[in-house]
């Protein structure tokens, strides 16, 4: 017996199998995206920071919406062509659909790329700076690091005099990197003292490595092996000893409970000590001469004289000044600071005047003064246009974002530079053209590390809004890719099926098209919710 109703619908339900299946699957997708949209509402309502409204450039999203709508029409036309047995037409429409999918993903890729290179930082007083970090330069040329890469000016510098690695937890890639860095700094990393290990009880200690031996991944892995072996050996001995002790204790007091016996059941460590092997749980290396090593801020918990990496490597040495250096600051946002100030009952403008940034950056101070003037102008314009209500209060006032955020368009407004129409159009997609607008528009700024509360690129780590944006659009993008692959399969490999059983192909394209429409449906909601709200 063969499986029925693959092509012909069943009489009483009126449906063929794949159609039921796709609607069931779409129901589950509704729940999936429903979960994400619910999360969006909660995280927005419960946010303890000002929700970024209209933070994304709208134009790419708008174009993507048109692209998807077009692809929705063409996919249904492709299905109609198949039903009417017009193979050429089907090919044309399906190709357009796929081209639309590709355009969508390209635009999305461009959007993501811009964000991954854009930096944001929240200061300790909740001022937010956005912009582009610079790369280390000397006399106009980029300084390369030990790997030959550009050094982004967001590193923690420690003048390391010695390093202690955890034999179990050290991360091999980081060890290699430290070795390369030291070499680049013309320092040597050498073992601080001899490692002698008793590998067999009774025998004298064996010299595994001498003081002054260079740090190599091989040496560390050798020590790690010894450590694991010794740890296992010691553990076995101790377990056996403890079991013996319990046996003795229970024999001596058969009626006593565990709890009564346990304080007195102990391993005789003195008796055991000669049998134990040396576990080398940490090994120290000296850095001669002390080298300035650099680390990513996420990987290191820095201290004035001692820092620790996430793989439990301890670095002894002075913490060097490690500022975050913006080569172009394209936004100064006080909304979060204002929110905190209002919570404490402080006047927002006063709080801004007293913020660290205004006090320490003349450029920012001047820009802020200019902005206050602009806000006043806006207030006046709104009052003139919309009038006042019966309490003589203006009907419309500038909102918080207009008052307390200087975005890149504000900076451009302040320091107009002539740009071609095409360049201005590109800015709608890729953000401001820093080179052409220069530092008169977007200031350079060296931010001391002590002022940084939280820094990140515009990635999911920056705040819950971006986390939602990337997760929802990323998942949606994966669905676009998946749907495109399936539709592409029917386009490129469907001819054989069309010749033998065109109705079956038409049904499959219909089912694929239903999925595609659902993807479009989700985007219809994603666009206003994430881009316009």
């Amino acid at each position: 017996m063969e499986i029925p109703y693959i092509v012909t619908p069943r009489k009483d339900t009126g449906l063929y199998n794949a159609k039921i299946a796709i609607w069931l699957f779409l129901a589950s997708e509704v729940m999936l995206f429903g979960g994400f949209f619910s999360a969006y509402v909660f995280l927005r309502l419960g946010a303890d920071y000002p929700w970024p409204e209209r933070a994304l450039p709208v134009l790419p999203g708008l174009i993507n919406t048109f692209v998807l709508i077009l692809s929705s029409v063409t996919v249904v036309f492709a299905w109609a062509a198949l039903k009417m047995r017009q193979w050429r037409r089907f090919q044309v429409y399906m190709s357009i659909t796929l081209v639309c999918a590709v355009i969508f993903m390209i635009l999305k890729g461009m959007e993501y790329n811009v964000k991954f290179h854009h930096q944001a930082v929240r200061l300790k007083d909740f001022t937010v700076l956005e912009g582009h970090l610079g790369f280390e330069e000397e006399n106009g040329t980029r300084v390369k690091d030990h790997n030959g890469h550009d050094i982004e000016e967001n590193k923690i510098y420690v003048k390391a005099s010695d390093l202690t690695f955890s034999t179990v937890r050290y991360h091999n890639a980081w060890v290699k990197d430290i070795i390369a860095q030291a070499e680049h700094e013309k320092s040597k990393i050498t073992l601080s003292k001899d490692i002698k290990v008793i590998t067999e009880p009774g025998k004298p200690a064996e010299l595994i490595a001498k003081k002054g031996d260079a740090l190599t991944p091989k040496l560390l892995s050798q020590i790690a092996k010894i450590h694991l072996k010794a740890r296992a050996h010691n553990s076995d001995l101790k377990i056996a000893a403890l079991k013996e002790e319990w046996k003795k204790a229970k024999k001596a007091n058969p009626s006593a409970s565990d709890v009564e016996l346990s304080p007195n059941v102990n391993i005789d460590m003195d008796a055991l000590a000669p049998l134990l092997e040396d576990e080398i749980s940490a090994v120290t290396f000296n850095v001669v001469p002390a080298a300035k090593l650099q680390f990513n801020p996420r990987d290191i918990a820095e201290g004035a004289t001692q820092s620790k990496l996430r793989d439990d490597t301890v670095i002894n040495g002075e913490l060097e000044p490690s500022p975050m250096v913006f080569h172009y600051v394209d936004a100064i946002d006080f909304q979060n600071l204002v929110m905190k100030a209002r919570e404490k009952g402080i006047d927002p403008e006063r709080a801004i005047e007293n913020s660290w940034l205004i006090k320490n950056s003349p450029f920012a101070k001047e820009a802020w003064q200019w902005h206050l003037g602009e806000v006043a102008k806006l207030e006046q314009r709104l009052k003139d246009k919309y009038g006042v209500d019966k309490n003589n209060q203006p009907k419309r006032v500038p909102n918080d974002k207009e008052r307390y955020r200087l975005g890149w368009k504000d900076f451009i407004e302040k320091n107009k530079v002539e740009l071609s129409g095409f360049d201005k159009f590109k800015e709608e997609f890729l953000g401001p053209n820093y080179e052409k607008r220069g530092n008169a528009t977007f200031m350079t700024f060296s931010l001391p590390r002590e002022q940084v509360l939280h820094a990140s690129k515009f990635t999911p780590a920056w705040n819950t809004y971006y986390a939602l944006y990337f997760t929802i659009t990323g998942l949606h993008g994966l669905h676009v890719i998946g749907g495109a692959i399936v539709l592409g399969y029917y386009l490129f490999c469907g001819r054989k099926m069309y010749l033998s059983n065109p109705e079956w192909l038409a049904n499959r394209v219909e089912v694929g098209g239903l999925f595609w429409h659902f993807v479009d449906l989700v985007w219809i909601f994603v666009f206003p919710i994430l881009y316009l709200m």
Partner: protein
């Protein structure tokens, strides 16, 4: 599938009209959000504009679902399945909302007169700059 050639020809015209409608609605959504003459409610983008935008989105979605996805002449079973999912999603959202922002709970212990203050590291240890910020005028 009982779609005849004539039915499909008619349907194509409908598809094109829906396409035009979707296009227009998208432009309308953009204008309501960005264009000042269409700024409803208060100044700037606020709840009123958001509601209008979402209603337009709902309308667009209905067009896609009913016409492109053939739901307007689909079997009852499909309505139940697909519709059931939306009911489920609505239940998920609504009940969770009420649980987190319970109207009764919120006023029983907390009457909303003071803003909620979240303790941060810097608030716990007021630094010198903080003292200056809180200085009275």
């Amino acid at each position: 599938m009982a779609n005849s050639v004539e039915e499909i020809q008619k349907a194509k015209k409908t598809y094109l009209m829906v396409f035009a409608a979707l296009f227009a609605c998208t432009i309308l959504t953009y204008l309501v959000a960005e264009w000042e003459p269409l700024d409803m409610g208060g100044h700037g983008f606020d709840g009123v504009d958001a509601t209008i935008g979402l209603l337009i989105a709902l309308f667009k979605a209905s067009l896609v679902a009913l016409i492109f996805m053939h739901l307007n002449h689909e079997k009852k079973a499909v309505y139940w399945i697909f519709g059931g999912a939306f009911v489920g999603a609505a239940a998920l959202y609504l009940l969770t909302h009420l649980a987190v922002f319970d109207p009764i709970h919120d006023t029983y212990f907390y009457d909303g007169s003071k803003p909620r203050v979240i303790q941060t590291e810097e608030a716990a240890q007021p630094a010198a700059s903080d003292k200056a910020a809180t200085a009275t005028p």
